[in-house]
Symmetry: none
Subunit: 227 residues, 4 copies
């Protein structure tokens, strides 16, 4: 999908026309450059922020980096997001969580059963992680963990995202009627995938993601033949 550049290359290849060092985009990101430049400033900021939050979390990302990568000026950012970094992060997380929600919805409605859908979802997560040299985990989890209690709006945004995902999962699990408690099972699926994403990142190996997906769904498929 995209390649990973060197990790935050502090050294600059002296390109002729660059006066000040322009930060090499350490994470080229999901949203790639060609489509980025076509976006209006506001969307560009959101997209870049989402990509960076996914990799280094709230505290780990600096607004300067966001500005560099999105080729925007400080003034523009504080015009569109008077609430600063926090507001930008909240909006980026909302944006990203909606994207994932749409992905889940799509997989749920195009798969023959819940188990297949979950396996497909796991596969997408795993491939995104691998393709990014094991940097891009879950934007929500990554942003949440180092936001600190003073940025409660970030936590709320994360929570809202998780709640939406859980509902989608639960609905399909309930529809398939594979377990007694669909809500608890949705929590298990999401928790296990989130945790596996972290394990995979630590081990630089996507195997945990596939493993948990298999472990969980192998118990399903029993009761309901689903539509």
């Amino acid at each position: 999908m995209f390649a990973m550049a060197a990790p935050k290359s502090t050294e600059q290849t002296t390109s002729p026309e660059s006066e000040r060092p322009i930060r090499t985009p350490s994470v080229s990101a999901q949203t790639d450059r060609s489509m980025l430049d076509r976006l209006p400033t506001r969307e560009r900021l959101v997209a870049v922020t989402a990509d960076l939050l996914q990799v280094r979390g709230y505290a780990g990302v600096g607004v300067t980096e966001i500005l560099d990568l999105s080729r925007s000026a400080k003034g523009s950012m504080y015009f569109h997001f008077p609430g600063g970094k926090e507001q930008l992060a909240v909006e980026a997380l909302g944006d990203r969580s909606t994207q994932i929600a749409r992905l889940i919805e799509h997989l749920m409605s195009t798969s023959p059963d819940a188990a297949t859908a979950v396996a497909a979802f796991a596969a997408v997560l795993a491939s995104r992680l691998e393709d990014s040299d094991f940097q891009r985990g879950c934007a929500l989890a990554t942003a949440l963990l180092d936001a600190g209690p003073e940025h409660d709006t970030v936590r709320t945004a994360v929570r809202t995202g998780y709640d939406r995902w859980l509902e989608l999962l639960e609905r399909r699990i309930a529809h398939d009627d594979v377990v007694d408690d669909p809500a608890a099972e949705a929590v298990l699926v999401l928790s296990a995938l989130e945790g596996a994403l972290i394990l995979a990142r630590a081990q630089r190996d996507p195997q945990p993601i596939h493993s948990v997906s298999r472990s969980i769904t192998s118990r399903w498929r029993r009761r309901a033949p689903s539509e």
Copy 2:
């Protein structure tokens, strides 16, 4: 055990007479003050660092804060940890992961079966989270997610910790003989708990932790008579 509210005291006392700023210990931490003061400098630094990493991650914690909370001076820190913040973090994560490993070991050996042990472990995690006003999740996950690729020693430390935990879990699951693939089941248990810890933090509700613990262990207890 203690409450935590003050949001990183951005406002100093600013009274002209006060020579040095006194940082409100925003996170009193697992390691509490009275026992902290009895520790030698080196251990004090490690303990405080572990506590802070658990709450705000690698990027979110500053050495100044560590120094303030551990009542040590810069010089002392760079004497004990010439590698600076990164080395300190690695050592703190090693320390903390050993503590958790010991806890797992203890629970595993004192519980009648694996399911009970896992439930007890989940209960400990949940209560620690709640007691800290939903701040203290897993130090390893929190530190990993915002460390960034340039701090690979941090990732390695996290990985080592996870591997040790996995092995302990796998051993007991294998011993109880409750599932076909004990290694995969250990990964599921750890992943689900890590993920549930995050969900719980986002929702400010420990329920996901208990939920996943129940969901997973409810399938066990069947085959093995346990020792």
Copy 3:
């Protein structure tokens, strides 16, 4: 008349939904809101600027704050005042100094003698200071002191205002014939009141203002029968 406390609202609402920050009007000002909204843009800007200059001086006031409080946009401001902040300040100081001149004129012509007029003037200054929680001193002095040599037009505006006041004072003192050198006495009156306003602000006590007014005028009333 009104109270003033909120310290420049350094914290934004930061709610993700709020698009634009709403600045808490830290200084509602002499010119109050209801009459402000009825004014055309240009006058609104001048009035708000004057109020702010009086409280925080030239360097202490930002155009953003002026814009927020006067509910105008940047474009409007630079249309009316192409010279920017400096021109706006000059005009605001001219406006305010005219108001004060009118007040002096009125008091001078309605009082039985110069001493009574000066006491009345001092009383007005003192009450304005007290009513604003000891924030609103003399706009001219406040703006002058932190304008810096690069904003000489500000100094000139201040000077012009002072000159007008001095002339009015001198005329009445001369008319009453209470001292040998009416010009010098006018300078004394104005200087003492300006200085007392500062002392009063520092001490949060209006007493110096009344004190100097009494000290000075107690020597008058002797020679002249007044008109």
Copy 4:
């Protein structure tokens, strides 16, 4: 005493060895360079801050300028003054107000009577103002007026300074027994001089200072021959 450089020369004479533009010391200051360099960092910061506050007030002075002029690093400043700009200002004002207090004390004890002492004091103020191209008024007044209510420690420092000066003035006036109410007369003297300093700055003419000094003291000398 010293010369004034060009007013904040935004343009830089391209001296060979200067890499980044080094701010031309817009106000060479009371504390001149040669003696400044011999001072330890902490004192250097205080001295430079006092000089700058005197000219442009609290809001008008930036810490960068203080750092440049005092040739100190950011780290040093926040080491010595953890309370930042505000603490530095408070300390500078305390320092400067002590210097003036000593001057007053000296003049009071070496002059034949209070009137002579006040005239001498006025002469010093006037000459300092003139020598600085009408920039250096009273540091206390200048810093107070644009500090804003959020920096109350600055106001307190100013108040303390004024109170000390008033006491010294009152003591000598009482000793000479020239008026009925020495406390009120001290307030008059200080107020008039502070105000005259402002008028003189606005008019670029020291005359108001001498004028008020003469106006006030001409009524004295009557009753007491003093020691």
